[in-house]
């Protein structure tokens, strides 16, 4: 099927099989491999992207469902060579170990801060409950999100 959508601000038009997920489309057809596949059943959050501004598991969305939509992946956060403040906070706080879960974590955190610019630690944990970190670096991830929220409010 023919699919047209906007990915990270750029219009994309491609053929895609109806049974391919948005995750497969992003990685295999568009070549944006920042979005990760792990469980492929909605449990781990590694595949999180923003779909029309909302955090979703791209493994649970068919690519063809996104016709006319806007998708943001980890590759779309940097602006003119400047990392997104969340990306910078993850580096500054040492929140990245192997890095596999981080694109999903950052997009889930992006959505969280967009909905609530001043989350409590409990709210950060809730917001990231659908993102598993196999390296278990949770406390630094929470530090990074708290810090990015603080920086954004200043």
């Amino acid at each position: 099927m023919n699919l047209r959508l906007t990915i990270n601000g750029k219009e994309v038009a491609r053929e895609v099989a109806a049974h391919h997920t948005l995750l497969e489309f992003l990685r295999d057809d568009v070549g944006l491999t920042g979005t990760k596949e792990c469980c492929a059943e909605g449990e781990c959050g590694a595949c999180t992207v923003l779909l029309d501004g909302k955090a979703v598991n791209s493994c649970l969305v068919l690519a063809v469902e996104t016709e006319g939509s806007a998708v943001t992946t980890i590759e779309g956060l940097e602006k003119d060579g400047q990392l997104d403040p969340l990306q910078q906070a993850f580096i500054d706080k040492g929140a990245v170990q192997c890095g596999f879960c981080i694109p999903g974590m950052i997009l889930a955190a992006k959505y969280l801060l967009q909905e609530n610019s001043n989350p409590t630690d409990a709210e950060i944990k809730q917001g990231l409950a659908g993102n598993l970190c196999r390296c278990a670096g949770y406390s630094r991830i929470i530090d990074a999100v708290r810090e990015a929220g603080r920086a954004a409010r200043q």
Binding site: A18, H19, H20, N57, L60, L62
Partner: protein, 270 residues
């Protein structure tokens, strides 16, 4: 995933035509949080998938009409928990919808999909039963209403006939004062399916409506009084599975019933 034909109809007529053409090998796609998992595992192998999200008139709205709150089939858990009208009248439903999966799941998962999937553990089923929800169904033949208490037939089985579509769910706005609450137990605090869940409401006369899930083949509605919680929960028929043993579930239902009643009584007094 096995290949299938994908349809994205823009009118109800086209939905019914597609459901008819591909029956019985056709699946309706809403948020996909249940369907996609089953398509991938191969448990469902439909020839066609009908994505109903862009049907004109498909509603993601919650509107109040003639004493009922009508929740469109496009309403997600995220929409539901942030709606002031739902928060005001149906606190137990808000509590249930806010523990479904993760933020990412709740941004896609619809209330209608949660009941159409008919899992015995569906978290929104107990509060919807307690609040007397009615399911509005449409097909080529016309429209009909099914009380939610007659909607579930067994695990994964509903009263929907082939070619029928849920268009909205009606919640009667309570006329008499009542307090209500939701409880669930899970193996871990985050994203997990319920080992058991329960909702109840109580009025000034002490009459209790209670419903529980993951404790029988379908979510079960029972009635009684504040003094008969034991008899009410004894109507459960739990099984033993990976999430818990039957005896544990049975024992915990009474504990959850007491907790839910206490919260409900507190809300009734407010």
């Amino acid at each position: 995933m096995q290949p299938f034909a994908y349809f994205r109809p823009e009118s109800r007529g086209e939905v019914f035509a597609a459901l008819r053409e591909f029956a019985p090998d056709v699946r309706i796609l809403a948020g996909g949080t249940d369907l996609m998992v089953r398509l991938r595992s191969g448990r469902f192998r439909p020839n066609a998938v009908v994505d109903v999200k862009r049907v004109s008139g498909w509603s993601s709205q919650i509107v109040e009409t003639e004493g009922v709150l009508r929740v469109g089939a496009g309403v997600t858990m995220t929409d539901l928990v942030s709606a002031p009208s739902v928060q005001q009248h149906f606190p137990a439903l808000v509590e249930a919808a806010s523990v479904v999966g993760s933020v990412q799941i709740r941004n896609r998962a619809t209330l209608a999909g949660n009941i159409c999937n008919a899992s015995p553990a569906a978290d929104t089923a107990p509060p919807l039963l307690v609040y007397g929800a009615v399911v509005n169904v449409a097909s080529r033949a016309g429209e009909r209403q099914i009380p939610l208490s007659e909607f579930f037939l067994g695990p994964g089985r509903t009263a929907l006939a082939a070619g029928e579509l849920v268009e909205s769910i009606d919640l009667p706005i309570p006329v008499e004062a009542a307090g209500s609450a939701f409880q669930r137990i899970t193996r871990r605090r985050g994203v997990d399916l319920a080992t058991a869940n329960l909702s109840c409401s109580v009025n000034r006369a002490g009459e209790v409506r209670m419903a529980f899930g993951a404790a029988a083949p379908i979510p079960l509605l029972v009635t009684g009084t504040a003094a008969s919680l034991e008899e009410m929960t004894a109507q459960a028929r739990p099984i033993s599975d990976v999430r818990g043993g039957a005896a544990y579930r049975q024992a915990m239902l009474l504990v959850m019933a007491r907790r839910a009643l206490e919260v409900s009584l507190g809300r009734l007094r407010q």
